[in-house]
Symmetry: C2
Subunit: 504 residues, 2 copies
Amino acid sequence: MAKAAKHAITPTRAEDYPEWYQQVIKAGDLAEPSPVRGCMVIKPWGFALWESMQRALDDMFKATGHQNAYFPLFIPMSFLEKEAEHVEGFAKECAVVTHHRLEPSEGGGLRPAGPLEEPLIVRPTSETIIGATYAKWVQSWRDLPIKINQWANVVRWEMRTRMFLRTAEFLWQEGHTVHATAEEAWEETQAMIDVYAEFAERWMAMPVIRGYKTPAERFPGAVETLSIEAMMQDRKALQAGTSHFLGQNFSKAQEIQFQDQAGDLQFAWTTSWGVSTRLIGALIMTHSDDDGFVLPPRLAPAQIVILPIYRNDQQRSAILEYVDSLKEELQAQTMAGAPLRVEVDDRDLRGGEKKWHHVKRGVPIRIEIGPKDLEKNAAFVARRDTGETCSMPRAQLVVEIADMLCNMQKSLFQRAESLRQAHSKTIETVDEFRQFFTPESPDQPEIHGGFAYCHFADEQDLQELLKELKVTIRCIPQADNDQPGKCFVTGKAAPRMAIFAKAY
Amino acid sequence: MAKAAKHAITPTRAEDYPEWYQQVIKAGDLAEPSPVRGCMVIKPWGFALWESMQRALDDMFKATGHQNAYFPLFIPMSFLEKEAEHVEGFAKECAVVTHHRLEPSEGGGLRPAGPLEEPLIVRPTSETIIGATYAKWVQSWRDLPIKINQWANVVRWEMRTRMFLRTAEFLWQEGHTVHATAEEAWEETQAMIDVYAEFAERWMAMPVIRGYKTPAERFPGAVETLSIEAMMQDRKALQAGTSHFLGQNFSKAQEIQFQDQAGDLQFAWTTSWGVSTRLIGALIMTHSDDDGFVLPPRLAPAQIVILPIYRNDQQRSAILEYVDSLKEELQAQTMAGAPLRVEVDDRDLRGGEKKWHHVKRGVPIRIEIGPKDLEKNAAFVARRDTGETCSMPRAQLVVEIADMLCNMQKSLFQRAESLRQAHSKTIETVDEFRQFFTPESPDQPEIHGGFAYCHFADEQDLQELLKELKVTIRCIPQADNDQPGKCFVTGKAAPRMAIFAKAY
């Protein structure tokens, strides 16, 4: 038992990374599988984190001129058929509603009844249903731009699911905008990937790379897809957000047309962009350790938890009084303009159990107050990310707490960035590439590789190699990527590099 | 045309109440029908109102000890079958998912493929799917109570839909709690109807009556249902929120059991409670007038709109400067602790069009600033609810604005309460009852009746009369309802009165 306490999570990352991920979710009270195939239950602590992410993103969307609205859950099958690539991309994973009631069946129980004239698809994404409405709203250049976001649930029938990363139903936001010119639509596409990158780096403390998707990896129906890509601790890439320049593909399919200032009828230019509860999976795999979840302070639903420790009623009342006034003092401090979020856990539980409860849930700072702290007017403080603990005078704690949280936020980012740097490599030959993506030790088949930066000319030339190694092209980075070179497979001239990685 | 300007909405309430309702929604940019049968699109202004309502309710839920979480959209058909009354109540209006992909059909186009082993129901409400998860969470009395709320979309396949009031898909919140004792579960049921009543009265400025539903009107599977009922301007009742004491019905159907402190296995006691986007329909019909929507200030996404009025560029810059600094001064004021929400509308539109745009959307206060106001350091102020306008010194406006909004909030409540009082009547005979629910004039078939307070013993005795007059029992009021009497139909002894009304 003493050994088990050393790491709260079994197995550790080194022992079995995929299973460690599932156990962190379980131990951290974030989510659990539901009785419905492929769907999960997001538990209160996991959902509070999602609310925290939603609030931050929503503020950023509104600050960049977007409004929220709500469009129907169902899409008539015929709508999906209008954009050929789009339907091709989603037809294989659609939940289809075919009936509108249940009736008693002959063998007892119920059966579907009231067949619908046209089947309805539970939205996998809403370009087609929102586009149909936009077509009515847009008449003149004066009606543009339209910049709307929707917070919603979507369904993509995945056969192999993994909590937060890939579930049949998931929660997300989808922005859908309409513009008079290609330039303006492209600016929007870029602006929103910038918003996502800022959110990932400043709030999630997760460094990301912005880049273009290659044609094969684009959103079905898009002209250009931008993504942000992050490196997880097992060195795999995770696509954390996408922003699509849809050109006139959807406006032509759905007849979103407007009269321009010269009086001519034009097809509009559209974009869409989204992030989902997948970000929670990214957060888990970026910062957590073998003791469980580690939350970046800016997103933590509780940034500080205070545990009162006492042995009898007399101690109890004095300690609770001390704890309550300390809580108030800490709540009066701010981080990034917001008052600190402080909780007191006075449940009747064994001290060890209670401590580990908060460690596993990733609360950034744990404060324990016992009789000796009271005597010394002090506090025992433990930092979740480094595990450091110390006893501090109360006044000093109150003065320094906000800095401590800011440092933690920065330090989490730096740790993740160091990991990425350590496992990013420019590669020029197939041999080197093959070696890079081969496990170093058979004991750790899951942790190897990283981001390989390689010049390439045509993705068709790489298919065989990538398939063999289970590697994909993550993106063509937008920054610092002007040096031409030669394709690492064919030697053909290549204007830019792409990032290659195994991916979630 | 001059006549049309007198009322922005055609027809007026008196001319055609149901059509007036639809036109207020349209003119107020709140929502519109979608291409999907029975579903609506909630437009940005309508959705901003819903967000405002959500924020207020969510704060109240959290202040009363609830947490948010998220459960699956889909319910396996077999789950629904477990509680007999429940499935009876919902089987006739279920969207049923039977397939999980689309494939090319022989005649071209697509057809559903990949039949599911068990059909899935799109949740009409989540007692059964949430209960299945609670059964796993609840083991001991230490795990109780569980107090969780979910913001979600639900689907009930309605044949006759009406925007906000009755749509196939709607947005709502559903609270689901589990308790160790009947007393505690009942307290929760009552506490939540009290929260709804407080929200309706203090935020929506809509007076409501709390009461018990009769057995025939209860939630399918509930032991007791409490509701809040409001009177609309056409004197019909609208059920604005419900809170259900589910007894042990669902815990027995789903085996939510716990070991009590004595070590015995007990079935838990559960509750559920919800309000939906229907509240927006209630808000519209409580306060709006023949010029469109009227928003209570506490919920208005924009409480004040400032319209700059100028004829040339020179005037423009001086006026915009004045307007911007006025906006800042007004935003520094607060209502109920929150900073005032002020917008400036500087779009290039005709003045009349712009004014009516905001009138129809129900913005509580409109301020117009033209060259003369600048000269006098004043502002032209128009109050949406009364239509009163005046010119005020700028300094006075800033000092009085918060009071003005508070008065408006109170006055809207009082106006609604006066209407309800004027059309509430204690009735003791069938003749009087029949007369009360018969249109006074054939010109206004939609506006008549009100709340009839009648003693009754057994709802079975009234079925025929109620069916004939299309009247329903709204609730048995909880307050001031201790006087026994005689059933107005049968003369049987009756312990209490109920409210009878036509209803939405």
